[in-house]
Every structure is written in structure tokens, then in C-alpha cells.
Symmetry: C2
Subunit: 281 residues, 2 copies
């Protein structure tokens, strides 16, 4: 498997890279970013996965996320995948909808046509890309964690709940916690997985918890000025599910903050410290 280096820039003592490879899962070229902090030769570092939100690529968090200073201090590798397959022949024109198709893979393996061939973001972010990263970067696969924003917060929660032994920590900014119950999620899960809502439960954090999935604890930040809070995010549903399941959830409503990277960047270092503490740093 060949990795193409798109760019590498020294930053905060480490290297911020952008890379491209031919994905077997999505049948497309996929681009992702990796920050490797300063480290001694031969050491293997914990790795934090960051799953992005609707319309994003790896670039949004890479440019605006303000994660490098904290990752350098804490010795964490930071990986940001894309949010969908892209390229000639991939269905899902973003000019038709920002919340379905390109830039909106929702971290599922689609079963519905015409999406099933390329939209395999679940397998891509949980299996293929971790293998690519482990083979090419100084990471310790036994020490992984996952965070995300909005649609990517949904991704982070579901990835962690279904793989609690693989991801030692999980957190989210402004996550979609119950996609089966909100418009963004109904559209995406219906479009990728079909009308049978039973198939949606494996991709719905609240439903997963109701069905018995467990993690050691969760950190979630939302802004109380987030325009999507009430209709799409609904953190109170996660709170209720975690209380019932005895999952310790630190849910913080941050006063005056919205859905943007101005919010994410404010609490990024906080989240990375939470992850580092659970990754043995």
C-alpha cells in the first residue's frame, strides 16, 4: 500500500503532514492529515482520532483546530480523516445537499444503492485507515482514542461504544447523539442504510447504550448558542441514556459558544488532556 505525501510542515516541534492513498474500502483516493509531535527515535506514541463534521475534509481541523501545541506537549499523534469518499463517479453531489453524500458520509457502511460501493466510512475509519497509520507512523495501536465534532461526534461516540477495548477514551464537541431521532440522522441513515430502523441502532449512540454498549466514561462539550443544539444535537438524550446505564458522562454546556471551530479550538486542549490521561501520558 503506497502513501503519497501531499505536504509536510514543521509545526510546534513536530510535523503536520497531509497524505493520500488508494482506499480499498471506498474504491477512491482518500486524503487525511497526521500530526506527529516531537519524540525520541524509535518510540511509539498514542494516537487520537478526530472525526470531522458535515461539509468538512481533513483540512478544517488541521488548519483551525489548535491541537498541535497540546499534542506536542502531551506526546499525542493526531489523525484527521476525510468525511466521505470523493472523486469521479462517487455519487452524492454536495451541490444538491450539504448533509448527505460528499462531505457527509456519517461514518457508516452504506447498504443502499448507489452508495454501497464507495460509502464505507465505518470500515475505513475503524479498520483500513488505522492499519495504514500503524504501518506508516510511530503509533502504538494499543493506545488509541477518538474524538469528533457534530457528525464526527456521532462517529466518535459510536466508534468508541462499539470498540471499547480499542479506544481508551472518547469525547465529542457538539455531537449528534441520537441520529435516529433527528433530521440530519434520519436523512443520512435512511439514505445509506435503508428504511428499516433496526439497522440504524448500531449507528446511534443513544440506541447503542440502550442496547447494552458501554464505555468507561465520556466527555462532551456543547455550546449553548449552537444553532443546531435543540433540533439536531439533543445532548439531553445522551445524558438520560448514560444516567440509566451508569456511564459517567461529563456534559458541559459552554455559555455563548456556537457550532464553529472558534468553539472547538477553545476546548481542544482540554479534550486532549482528557485523552492523554486515559492513554497513559
Amino acid at each position: 500500500m503506497t502513501l503519497t505525501t501531499v505536504s509536510q510542515n514543521k509545526s510546534h516541534g513536530g510535523v503536520q503532514g497531509v497524505y493520500r492513498h488508494a482506499s480499498q474500502e471506498t474504491k477512491t483516493e482518500m486524503t487525511f492529515s497526521v500530526f506527529v509531535p516531537p519524540h525520541a527515535d524509535g518510540t511509539k506514541l498514542p494516537v487520537v482520532w478526530y472525526l470531522s463534521g458535515l461539509t468538512c475534509t481533513h483540512a478544517n481541523v488541521t488548519e483551525k483546530g489548535e491541537f498541535r501545541a497540546a499534542c506536542a506537549e502531551l506526546g499525542l499523534v493526531f489523525v484527521a480523516p476525510d468525511t466521505s469518499p470523493r472523486g469521479d463517479g462517487v455519487p452524492g453531489d454536495p451541490n444538491n445537499a450539504y448533509d448527505f453524500g460528499l462531505g457527509a458520509g456519517f461514518y457508516v457502511d452504506a447498504t443502499q444503492e448507489p452508495f454501497a460501493k464507495n460509502y464505507r466510512m465505518w470500515s475505513y475509519v475503524t479498520e483500513e485507515l488505522p492499519s495504514v497509520v500503524a504501518a506508516n507512523f510511530p503509533v502504538d495501536p494499543r493506545r488509541q482514542s477518538v474524538m469528533g465534532h457534530s457528525m464526527g461526534g456521532h462517529g466518535a461516540l459510536t466508534v468508541a461504544l462499539r470498540n471499547p477495548s480499542r479506544y481508551r477514551a472518547a469525547s465529542a464537541f457538539s455531537p449528534i447523539v441520537a441520529p435516529s431521532q433527528v433530521p440530519w440522522g434520519e436523512k443520512a441513515l435512511g439514505g445509506y442504510l435503508g428504511a428499516d430502523k433496526a439497522a440504524w441502532r448500531k449507528h446511534d449512540a443513544v440506541a447503542l447504550i440502550e442496547d447494552g454498549a458501554r464505555v468507561s466514561d465520556l466527555l462532551v462539550d456543547v455550546g449553548d448558542a449552537d444553532q443546531f443544539l435543540v433540533q439536531q444535537l439533543r445532548p439531553e438524550l445522551l445524558k438520560a441514556a448514560c444516567e440509566k446505564a451508569n456511564i459517567p458522562l461529563l456534559l458541559r454546556k459552554q455559555e455563548g459558544y456556537d457550532h464553529s471551530y472558534y468553539f472547538i479550538s477553545t476546548y481542544m486542549a482540554d479534550h486532549l488532556r482528557w485523552h492523554a490521561a486515559r492513554l497513559g501520558r
Copy 2:
């Protein structure tokens, strides 16, 4: 004078805003950004001016500069102007040249046609915009400082050298220190100010120092992997001029860093602490 709010987002406890106003100097609408850190009502804060480089608008540093955490900690307002006038009828198509015209105002008041009417960035950043900012934000005009990158590093150095009592500190990332002696500067100063190089000396940091301008001290960071270091930036010329003039210059060559915001963001907090110490924070 009316200020239009383009956007405001809470970030790092303060407010990151983008604003627009009709400039009397440039005869165009001008857009700029201001970060106001958390502060007690009624207090007036020191203000750091950030002058951007070729091709940039206010947005590059606002999104990628990683200045807000440090500004919030240190209690500094951070203002980022645009790099040129823009809009219908403004000459200087950037499709013809990235280093002259739109996005490349070089912080001079042009005397040559067709640029003299709009390209008045010197007066804009040293007179008009400071008045606009003082009238609309909680700043203390007696405590200002200036920094910049590349072309904006040139701007910061010349602004500080010609107004040492107004700007209490000056620093630069990857500055053009002697525009009269390098291709970018020769093109820009020739195009805006004409062929007579005597008129260029007021816009050349090294020439200003040779001609007697003084500041209390300077901080300059350059990356030793900067592709423009040898031909365009030439920090050794500033070093020689400062040594001869007994201006304390802290010039740091940062190993492995390039010309990008990945470099700037790495040392931004350092620079802000340098400014804060000289602004009475």
C-alpha cells in the same frame, strides 16, 4: 463612521469578530478582524496589530494564527487588517501577479498611477484603522504594538521604526527587512512609489535604521527552511543594521520551519508574551 459586523464568534472566552467599513483612505470597503479577550466592563486593553503577508486577507491569521489562547491569557486585543484595497474598479488583478496589486499593498501610500487613489495602506493601518478601532473597541491607544509576517513583517518593522512612541513593541515572522534590495520589494516599491529609490527609504526597515530611525528592541523569527529566506527576506541585513545602530535585535533562526502559518502559529504565543511584557501586562 459606520462599522458593519460581518461575524462574531465566542472563542477562548472572548469574541472573535470580523467587521467592514467604508475607508476614506482607500475609497473602498475594508474588512478586518478584532479579537477582544475576556475583560472587566469599562477596562481598556492594550492592542496588538498584526500585518499579514502577500495574498492574505484578515482571514489567514484569524483562522490559522493560534493567537486567541495567548491573547485571552494576557489580556490583549488583536487586530488584523486586510493587505490591500479590494473591489470593483481597484486596479491590480491578482491573476496577473500575486506580489503586486490586490493582496499586496506593501503598507505604502502609492504615488504612482493608477494606484495612488486606492493603495493607501500606510495611512490606513497607521491612522484610519487605529481611529476606527479606538472608537469601537475597548482599547487603550497609548498601549499599542505591532507584528507581522513576510510583507507584513516589513510593514510592522517600518511602522514601528517611524512611530516608536506610538508602538511600544514590534516583532516579525519571516519579514522582508530590506525591500529596496530584494525582488519582491523592488517590484512593489517601484510600482507604487516610482523609480526614484530615495522615496523607498521610508519604507525599508534597514534603510530607516541607516537613516537614524530607532526602536527600543526587536524580535524576529525566521525558519531556516523558508524558501524565501535567502532571496527575499535576508534577515542578515537587519542584523547588520541593528548591530551598527545598537538596536537590540533578538533574531532567531528556527530549525526546519518554513514560511507558512504552521511556523507562525508555533511562535505566536512567544511573540505575544514579548509584546505583553512591553505593553504593561
